[in-house]
Amino acid sequence: MAKLTFREDLCKGCGLCVTACPKKILALSKTKLNHKGHAPVECTDPAACVGCASCALMCPDCVITVER
């Protein structure tokens, strides 16, 4: 059981978290843009998240909080 929280308006859509996730459950949004005009990251399968925080470790902008 793990929970991700995204500070979505700070996301720059760089994709570093997407590459880092071992479960491949992160993707940039195809339907929305944030305040900065970037496609923010989303979790496509929250139940599959193992809470390893690899995504958060690679995020330059501290967008992701991970609970486990």
Partner: protein, 248 residues
């Protein structure tokens, strides 16, 4: 559920101005994590450089001073000598530390000042639009080496850790990278140690962080991390170059 990862307390809520995927942001976070872990925010003074991280003073909650280009180690020396019970760090790019400020870097290391230096080697002058840095790789195309850096006319890249390791005074010199999860974990340990050394009075500690500049390298953030792995690390090997307390 318990929080396993969140933004460190020593960072302000000001959003970074850095380009998407620029790893300056990761290094800021690692510095703040070290400050949090050691509980020294109230007595830490950071010195910001000239370069893309010129506004680092907006991002750290501790006291910050802005130095003129390359002079951060000299400013840090003055602050540390005036306030020896405070923790003083500089955060500097390669243009700042290895070019215009090389004299201050070497002299401060040579004196063994008890300060912590976080050196961001992204092999380029990021802020000014991508000119060649002393650390730019052989063959690297930049605004001022449009045909690729040619050692015959532009010299060889400087390896700062190796250079400083020839001096007697420094206590700790380590090179790390932040292009992968494993490397970020190593970088976190090295940066923590560089601050802890100062708290324990061990002397001059510098961590060189191989960082990315996706914008001026003309690469996506992901490709820039691969460039670090395939091109930067082979020329700038990671590891500890000096650790006096452990006889190295």
């Amino acid at each position: 559920m318990a929080i396993v990862f969140q933004k460190p307390k020593s960072l302000t809520d000001v959003p970074y101005h850095y380009c998407p995927g620029c790893t300056h942001g990761i290094v800021h976070r690692l510095v703040a994590e070290a400050i949090d872990a050691l509980g020294i925010e109230g007595k830490t003074i950071g010195i910001a450089p000239v370069g893309c991280s010129v506004m680092a003073y907006d991002y750290f909650k501790c006291d910050m001073i802005e130095a003129s280009h390359g002079r951060a180690p000299a400013v840090a020396t003055g602050v540390k000598r005036a306030l020896p019970d405070h923790v003083v760090f500089t955060y500097q790019g390669d243009g700042d530390l290895a070019s215009i400020g090389l004299c201050e870097t070497v002299s401060t290391a040579c004196r063994g000042e008890n300060v912590t230096i976080i050196f961001i080697n992204n092999a380029i002058y990021g802020m000014t639009g991508g000119q060649m840095a002393p650390t730019s790789l052989i063959g690297q195309v930049t605004q001022t080496s449009p045909y690729g850096r040619d050692p015959k006319t532009q010299g060889m890249p400087i390896r700062i850790c190796e250079l400083l390791a020839t001096l007697d005074a420094p206590a700790y010199l380590e090179r790390v990278a932040v292009n992968s999860v494993a490397h970020v974990r190593q970088a976190k340990k090295a940066i923590h140690k560089a601050f802890q050394n100062q708290v324990e009075g061990k002397g001059f500690s510098l961590v060189e962080v191989i960082s990315t500049c996706p914008t001026n390298w003309g690469l996506t953030p992901e490709k820039a991390c691969q460039f670090v792995e395939e091109k930067m690390i082979p020329f700038y090997p990671l590891g500890c170059f000096k650790d006096k307390e452990n006889g190295k």
